[in-house]
């Protein structure tokens, strides 16, 4: 009953491990798959290795975490070794980033065919060097990268967008028009910060970082709802999802499936199995026969 699909790729359930959570090795991706994730997304990677920012890279706040890991990754060649070790039990999505369309293209070409989909990270709120949300806050820059990657690869392209814009719909429409196959909404919010009381010093080394966790769920949900009314491509909902109830809200808002990130901290790796179990019971009790029946339900009332 939980089976669903996104861009014609079959999933045994609508949960995915979100980019940036675990996900930098085949071992941790396989673990998420064993724990019940319907698909897994790698940590974002680039052409060259990147050590990311110095610590502290993560700090807790009421309702979630702020992180500025800084897109650390071992580079696409090392990542290919990891992709080769995926157990293949669930679809794999490669999250990639770069500073311009050339960089995105080059990374995408390297992994075309090794994964089921590519997710373009144009939305990291703490990236430097012209990467991340500095692209995703500009509809033209976003469209240019989508077009460039789409031209080079055969697998579906997802664009992960930032909520930190005045008009998210405008960016979503630009991405769709440029040919993306799906949208992931949303990346972490902000950036935000936290200051130590004893030393008056910002705690994160990068000072600012992306806010994730339950606190951002209402924002993510609104983004999914709003964009669903404007685009035809499927939406993957992400932001503060901890349990099946949160997942149902995202499906109702218009998401075809959901990604789980920070909840791995609160619920452990069992979060995927737990959400699926709860969702299954909910669907039986409310007489839904498929996940697709629930998608966008909040718009039909």
């Amino acid at each position: 009953m939980l089976e669903t699909d996104i861009c014609k790729i079959k999933m045994k359930n609508p949960t995915m491990l979100a980019a940036g959570i675990m996900g930098n090795t085949a071992a941790s991706l396989n673990w998420a798959a064993r724990s019940g994730a319907g698909a897994v997304v790698t940590k974002s990677f680039s052409m060259e290795a990147n050590p990311g920012y110095s610590n502290p890279t993560t700090v807790e706040v009421t309702g979630g975490f702020i992180n500025a890991i800084g897109l650390s990754n071992p580079g696409v060649e090392a990542l290919k070794d990891e992709l080769n070790k995926l157990d293949g039990s669930v679809p794999a999505v490669a999250s990639i980033y770069g500073a311009n369309s050339n960089e995105f293209q080059n990374v995408a070409i390297k992994i075309d065919g090794m994964v089921d989909m590519i997710e373009l990270n144009v939305s990291c709120p703490h990236a430097s060097g012209g990467c991340g949300s500095s692209i995703g806050q500009d509809p033209n820059a976003t469209a240019k990268i989508v077009k460039a990657v789409k031209k080079e690869v055969n697998i579906p392209i997802i664009v992960k967008l930032t909520p930190n814009v005045t008009d998210l719909v405008e960016i979503a429409e630009a991405a769709q028009k440029a040919g993306c196959d799906a949208l992931t909404l949303i990346n972490s919010v902000g950036p935000g910060m936290r200051i130590d009381l004893e030393t008056a010093q910002p705690i994160l080394h990068n000072k600012f970082g992306g806010v994730s966790g339950p606190a951002i769920k209402p924002i993510a949900l609104r983004c999914v709802y709003e964009v669903y009314e404007a685009v035809n491509v499927p939406i993957i909902g992400v932001g503060g999802i901890r349990d099946y109830k949160d997942s149902v809200e995202f499906l109702f808002a218009g998401a075809s499936c959901v990604q789980i990130g920070t909840a791995v901290y609160y619920e452990g790796m069992d979060v995927f199995g737990d959400i699926c179990q709860g969702l299954d019971k909910f669907m039986v009790s409310k007489d839904y026969s498929s996940v697709a029946d629930m998608v966008g339900k909040a718009h039909r009332n």
């Binding site: 959570i21 941790s28 610590n55 890279t57 890991i69 990754n73 090392a78 004893e198």
Partner: protein
């Protein structure tokens, strides 16, 4: 809440030329030997296992070898200086059995000192092999003198048994029986100790060290092959029956970027 708590250094003990212990007032609650804390020097943040967990005087401490920029900055600190600390994190040593053999190599003695003292409070007998390159680098010989049966060894034979900790452990295991072995030190040494434990059919626990970022089990930086276990969450202490699943143990670790680095 996973935020650094800024505390004053209460006192500093110069253990050897390159090793110091930093002690703090700390409300000891459920801290377990083998668990670690993230230490913030207001520039960077690194994991350190506790070398002192004193529930009577409510003190906690770290024993740190000066090996680089981060540890150098801490070594320059004195009583009254401040550090940020968050934790404790991860799974520590389980104290079980009546008689335990502990094998510590170099500054790997840090969590074993806390372990030996906690075991002693629980009436568990501990034989403790303290291994170092030379006499001047042996740790905690005075502090643990009455807590454990100390068996010192030095690579150069300047004090105690002449040879590696693994060789002394092999000797000791010939004439003694133990319910459990615990070890912390260079990974290649721990690998040999775990192999020895298996040969003697004694359960063993070992403590792994990996580059850490979030320390709360979400960033994936410290995941090990092939299980994906997080050293910050499922570890840093693992059992010998888990070692076969950690294929990178004794072979390689990953850098801040996630690139494999062979030992």
């Amino acid at each position: 809440m996973n935020i650094p708590k800024v505390v004053e250094i209460k006192r500093v003990i110069q253990e050897t030329d390159t090793v110091k212990t930093f002690i703090f007032d700390w409300p000891v609650k459920e801290e377990v030997p083998g668990q670690f804390m993230m230490i913030w020097n207001f520039e960077d943040e690194k994991p350190m296992s506790m070398s002192l967990i004193d529930p009577i005087n409510n003190e906690m401490g770290f024993t740190i070898r000066n090996v680089g920029k981060f540890t150098e900055s801490i070594h320059r600190m004195e009583a009254g200086d401040k550090l940020g600390i968050r934790g404790p994190y991860g799974r520590g040593f389980e104290i079980a059995g009546l008689k335990v053999l502990a094998v510590g190599g170099g500054v790997g003695m840090a969590p074993l000192a806390a372990f030996a003292e906690e075991a002693s409070r629980m009436q568990v007998e501990v034989d403790l092999i303290s291994a170092a390159a030379t006499q001047d680098e042996l740790l905690f010989m005075d502090r643990l003198d009455k807590t454990a049966e100390l068996k010192a060894c030095t690579d150069d034979g300047t004090y105690g048994f002449c040879g590696f900790g693994t060789e002394l452990a092999e000797e000791v295991l010939k004439n003694n029986s133990y319910d459990m072995i615990v070890t912390c030190g260079p990974e290649v040494m721990m690998k040999k100790i775990v192999d020895l434990a298996e040969k003697h059919d004694i359960p063993a626990q070992f403590s792994m060290e990996r580059y850490m970022k979030c320390a709360v089990g979400i960033c994936g930086q410290c995941c090990v092959d092939d299980t994906g276990w997080r050293v910050c969450k499922e570890g840093p202490v693992f059992w010998s029956d888990e070692v076969r699943l950690i294929v990178e143990f004794g072979k390689y670790r990953r850098s801040a970027a996630g690139r494999k680095e062979m030992f």
